[in-house]
């Protein structure tokens, strides 16, 4: 059941993110990207399966560990995500100023 709950959580976060992505404002898109990347990172993370109390810190007497590979991948993905988010925020900010609107679709600036 926990796997199902987790999956549903990932799905719902992604769905909310997608909905925000489609709202066509730079700000909501940034929020949407954040949510979608949370979902993505959780997804990638869970590809090593979910395990409780099995942190991948080596110890003599421990025999069972969580899969460390997805963790390393997600860590990389999170940091890359930070770089991308930072950039997109700055572009959004400048675009808002230069285009006079934060609507992202051409010809819809008046909606702002």
């Amino acid at each position: 059941m926990m796997n199902l709950a987790f999956s549903a959580g990932v799905g719902i976060v992604a769905a909310c993110g997608v909905y925000l992505l489609l709202r066509a404002r730079t700000y909501t898109i940034v929020l949407g990207l954040l949510l979608v990347s949370y979902a993505t990172n959780l997804f990638l993370f869970a590809s090593g399966r979910l395990s409780i109390d099995k942190a991948p810190i080596y110890a003599e007497d421990t025999t069972s560990y969580a899969d460390p590979i997805p963790q390393a991948l997600v860590l990389t993905a999170i940091v890359i995500g930070l770089a991308m988010t930072a950039f997109v925020i700055v572009v959004a900010m400048i675009a808002n100023q230069k285009l006079g609107s934060d609507h992202v679709d051409a010809g819809r600036e008046d909606d702002a």
Binding site: F45, S47, G48, L73, A83, V88, V91, K98, V104
Partner: protein, 530 residues
Amino acid sequence: MSGMLPIAMVVLPMFIAAVSLWVGARAENPDVARDRQRALGRFSLVAMVPLAIMMLQATDAGEVAVVRLGNWPSPFAITLVVDRLSALMVTLTVVLTLFVEWGARDGAEAEGPYFHPLLQFQVMGLNGAFMTGDLFNLFVFFEILLIASYALLLFGQGKQRLRAALHYIVLNLVGSCLFLIAVGVIYGLLGTLNMADLAAKAALVPAADAPLLKAGALLLLLVFGIKAAIVPVHLWLPSTYHAAAGPVSALFAIMTKVGMYAIIRVFIPIFGPGQGEVASVAEPWVLPVGLATLVVGTLGVLAANDFKKMLTYVVVASVGTQAIAVGLFTQQGLAAAVFYIAHSTLLTAGFFLLADAVILRRGEVGGRLSAGPLIPSARALAVLYLVAAMSTVGLPPLSGFVGKALLLAAVPTAWQPAVWTVTIVTSFVMLVQLARIGSVLFWNISSDREATPEVPPGVRSLAPAASLLTASVVISLFGQQLDTFSRATAAQIYDRARTIERVMTDAEPPPKDPQKKKAQKKAKKEGGDA
């Protein structure tokens, strides 16, 4: 080939970029900084060309270089695997960038702050993406080349550019998320990331896992499709390429190829023919969407009323052609694709540089397809245009013709009606439209229009464009060499078993100094004991 060579193609640009950041920050004024950064950047590019060619030669001799980073065994190390295809793509990258950098000198607009370091990072990302043998590492290099391309795209800003960049970035971020999800699915089922290992394991996947793995694979296909700009996820390309500064659009000629390259890398060895339950995952998709891409791109070419905009659709159409060739999923088709990729990278770049030169000279008319002024260097520009247009359409004797002929010849009978019809009709449309555009640009002179008064001097500034376009002639002249290479490339890609064996089991090259090797091993062993 020494393992140094592939590493150098990633490390050198990174090193130069870092050093030039340092040097730039220490310079007394921006001009000095730029001069130094340019010198460093050019040094790096010039140095990489012979290195790339050495790689090309080594791979052409049948060698596959496998570098296991960190000296861990496969599949645990990230590997750089350099075969013919990788070597070719890397060579294209560095040659292209060299010319683009050369061409960027005149367009002051392109040469914004950090232009040269960013260009180096761009090359680093491209080279890495073309050499890595690890699926997740491919993602990382994708991100490097993307973030660098965002920066390059945005030089000079401007409304159109900002919006295009915003779209391009957001779309790619969505694409990156899909990439990670796909990696998650694939890792979740196969438990590895090394592409050779993936190929070995995918073949053995049980039937129950197959649909799931296929779903992951197809998401990956979609991601690569976005990068390659395949219909229906191609919409971003025209406005992005149109908005970019001339030299940057020229550089972007390689960007769609990255997607196509990744499709080749993943969907032939890993999810290609003969892979058990997940055989030929992409086969039902690539060829049809390739045809659609070619048609849609050509419609764009026909619709365009702007020179540069038209070129962006030419890019889409060329993506379609490549996708068709890859989508045949035969060795011959792949060989044609490889040939076409080499041809169209240089051609497209040259064409963009040419367009930049023409638009720059046409004053306020710019790239619009209406009567314009009599522009300086018109004769030279017109000759270059003729070459570029002929090669684009696929008229002999230029490389475009050879490429198209190779593709048509590669089509198996079942697909001949569809592919041939589409190819012929689209080529015809391009012919009509490129003739129209050429005649407007160079012949439809209106005396009340004025050329840009202060245009960079004369014919010499056209050298980068001319050189790139000359490549079309050269490729055609030495078509057999390239074709032989392409066929060998295709054979190598389809020879999955050998690559797997080479990557997974081939012994490391003997160390130069056995003493040191021992010391290292000893250290590690001691570590194990402690």
